[in-house]
Amino acid sequence: MLLQLKQVSLSFAGNTVLHDVDFGVEPGRIHSLIGPNGAGKTSMFNVITGFYRPQQGEITLDGESIVKRKPHAVTRLGIARTFQNVRLFREMSVLENVMAGQHCRTRSGALAAVLRLPSQRAEERQILETSLECLDFVGLLGHQDRLATNLAYGHQRRVEIARALATQPKLLLLDEPAAGLNSGEKQALIELIRRIRDERGVAVLLIEHDMSLVMNVSERISVLDHGSLITEGDPHTVQNDPKVIEAYLGQDDEELAL
C-alpha cells in the first residue's frame, strides 16, 4: 500500500466525523472516495494531508508515519492535493501559481537570492522548467503569463492540478475536480487523470459526486457514510451493493443515478 489509514477517528466537539476508518491506496491506482454529502470525505482528505489531526489512528505513506506532521511536511513526503473550491493565489500569474509547487523541492534561501549565487540561479531555472512542463502537461502552455484568476473556471481547475503536480507527488488527492465543469471538460478531465497515472506514475485519490465520471475512471471505489467506510471494491461491485444504494437514498437525483 502507498497510503494506509488504520482505525482513524476524528471528531469535533464530540461530533464524530470519521469513525475507525481503515483505508488504503495502492501505488499507481486511480481510487475514488464517494459518499453522500457530509459523509466525511473532505475531512478524510484533511486528515491525510495534515490539516486535521485525528484523535486516534495511524496514517502511513510508503510505510512512514505522517499522522503528526504539518501539511507542508506531508506534501514534501509526496502527497499533493487540490481544494474543493479552487484556491489559486490571486493577483499572481498562472506560472507563479504553479511555481509554488516547486517550493518544497528546492532549498535556496535569502542569502543565496541576494547574492544571486550560481546554485540559486540554476535552481530558479529548474523551478521555471518544471513549472512550464507541468503547465504543458495539463494543456495550459501559453497561458502562463495571465493572471490565474482571470482564466475560465475549467482552466483554473487545471492550474490547480498543475500546481499540485509541480510538488512531484507520489499520490495526488483531487477534491471534486469535476464540480462546475461542462461535459466536454469532464471528458478531458478523465483523460487527464488517466495520463497523470499512466505517464507520471502518480496514484490518484479522487472525491467526486459525478457518478458517471467516477464509474468511468476509477479502478477502485470506497464508500464513506456517516464517517464510516461501508464498502469498497471495483466500480461494478460498488454500483450493485445494496448498502451503497441505501446510503444514497434521499439524496438528490444526480447522485441517485448511481
Binding site: 507542508h72 499533493a80 493565489f89 518544497c104 534561501g109 540559486q120 503569463d145 500546481r163 510538488t167
Partner: protein
C-alpha cells in the same frame, strides 16, 4: 532588474494604462530603459551634494535612511502581509548595539556590525516566533508593545545611557577614509539605499519572495504546496529586522549620538506611513513614499506652524484617491 523571463506581461485583454503614473511606469517596462533610468537616478544622487546646500544634503541623507528602513518594513508588511507597528525597535537594536560596542567597549565599527546584525536577527526571532500564529490585528498590538518595550529598556538601562542615550559614538574609517562630513555620510547612505533596493528586488524575484506572497494570499493553499508558513513569515521578520538594523547602524555613527526618543512609536508609524503611502509591496512606490515622508514637511516649511497640518491633509487626500498607494498596480 532582469528576471528569468518577464513573468507578468500585462494581459492583452486588460485595459491600456491611463493615468500619467501608469504611463510613466509602462514606459520603463523594458530592461534597457530601466537600466538607463537606474543610471540616471544614480548620477543625480552623486551630483546633488555638489550643487545643493549642506542642509539639503542632510535632509536627503535622512530620506535615504528612510528608503532603507521602508524597504525593510516593506518585506514584512508589503510582502509577507504582517502588520508591524514596532519596526523602530529593530532600528534601535542596530543603533544601540553599535553605540555600545564602539563607544563603551572600543570595538572597531566594522567588527561590531556582525554583532548588530545578529542582535537584530535575534530580536526578529524573539518577536516573530511566539506571535506569528496571531491574526493581523493582534499582531499589530504585540509589535506595538515590543517597540515600546525596546524603547523603555533602552531608557532604563545603564549601558544604553538611560534617557540621555549614548553620545560621542566614534565615526568609522574605511581604508584610511575617515567618514565624518555630512557629504561622506550622504554617499554612505546612497550606497546603502542602492544595496537595499537591489537586495529587495532579488529577494522578491526569488523562491522566498514568492513564498511570502503565497502565504499572504492563502496560508492553507501555501501549506498544501509544501511551504512552511511559520518559517516563511519568520524569515520575513528576520530579514526586515536586518534591514532595520543596517539603517540603525549607520544612523548612530552619522549622528554620533542616539537616545531612546529616536526610536519612538512615531518613528515606527512614519516608516509604515511611507510604505502604505507609496504602495505596499511595490518597491519603487515604497522608495517614493520614503522621500515624500521625509521631504514633504521640509518642502512645506514656508507654511510655518501650519506645515504639519497641511502635510497631514495632503496625505489624507492621497490615501483617499489612491487607497492602495501612489504607485500603480503592475497588473489590473
Amino acid at each position: 532588474m532582469d528576471r528569468h523571463s518577464p513573468p507578468t506581461r500585462p494581459d492583452t485583454h486588460e485595459p491600456r494604462p491611463r493615468n500619467p503614473l501608469q504611463r510613466l511606469y509602462a514606459a520603463f517596462e523594458s530592461p534597457g530603459r530601466r537600466r538607463a533610468l537606474h543610471l540616471a537616478i544614480i548620477a543625480i544622487l552623486i551630483i546633488t551634494p555638489w550643487i545643493s546646500s549642506q542642509y539639503t544634503t542632510v535632509i536627503l541623507t535622512n530620506a535615504l535612511l528612510y528608503v532603507v528602513l521602508c524597504l525593510g518594513l516593506n518585506i514584512v508588511v508589503g510582502y509577507a502581509g504582517l502588520l508591524d507597528l514596532g519596526y523602530a525597535a529593530f532600528f534601535a537594536v542596530g543603533a544601540y548595539t553599535i553605540g555600545i560596542l564602539t563607544q563603551q567597549f572600543g570595538v572597531n565599527f566594522w567588527a561590531a556590525i556582525p554583532f548588530a546584525l545578529m542582535a537584530a536577527a535575534l530580536a526578529g526571532v524573539i518577536i516573530g516566533g511566539p506571535t506569528l500564529r496571531l491574526r493581523s490585528d493582534y499582531l499589530a498590538i504585540v509589535t506595538l508593545g515590543f517597540g515600546e518595550i525596546v524603547r523603555f529598556t533602552a531608557r532604563n538601562l545603564e549601558i544604553t545611557g538611560g534617557a540621555s542615550g549614548l553620545s560621542h559614538i566614534p565615526e568609522p574609517s574605511l581604508f584610511g577614509w575617515h567618514i565624518d562630513s555630512s557629504i561622506d555620510f550622504y554617499y554612505v547612505f546612497v550606497v546603502l539605499a542602492v544595496l537595499a533596493y537591489i537586495a529587495s528586488q532579488r529577494l522578491f524575484d526569488s523562491r522566498l519572495g514568492r513564498a511570502w506572497l503565497y502565504v499572504r494570499h492563502d496560508e492553507d493553499a501555501a501549506e498544501a504546496m509544501g511551504i512552511n508558513r511559520v518559517a516563511t513569515k519568520l524569515a520575513a521578520y528576520v530579514i526586515g529586522a536586518i534591514f532595520g538594523a543596517i539603517g540603525g547602524i549607520f544612523f548612530s555613527v552619522n549622528l554620533g549620538a542616539i537616545s531612546p526618543e529616536s526610536f519612538s512609536f512615531q518613528q515606527s508609524v512614519l516608516i509604515l506611513l511611507a510604505v502604505v503611502l507609496g504602495g505596499m509591496g511595490k518597491i519603487p512606490g515604497v522608495i517614493l513614499g520614503a522621500f515624500i515622508v521625509v521631504l514633504g514637511p521640509e518642502l512645506l516649511r514656508d507654511f510655518g506652524t501650519l506645515r504639519l497640518l497641511i502635510f497631514a491633509v495632503l496625505l489624507l487626500l492621497i490615501m483617499l484617491f489612491r487607497p492602495s498607494g501612489i504607485w500603480p498596480e503592475k497588473r489590473s
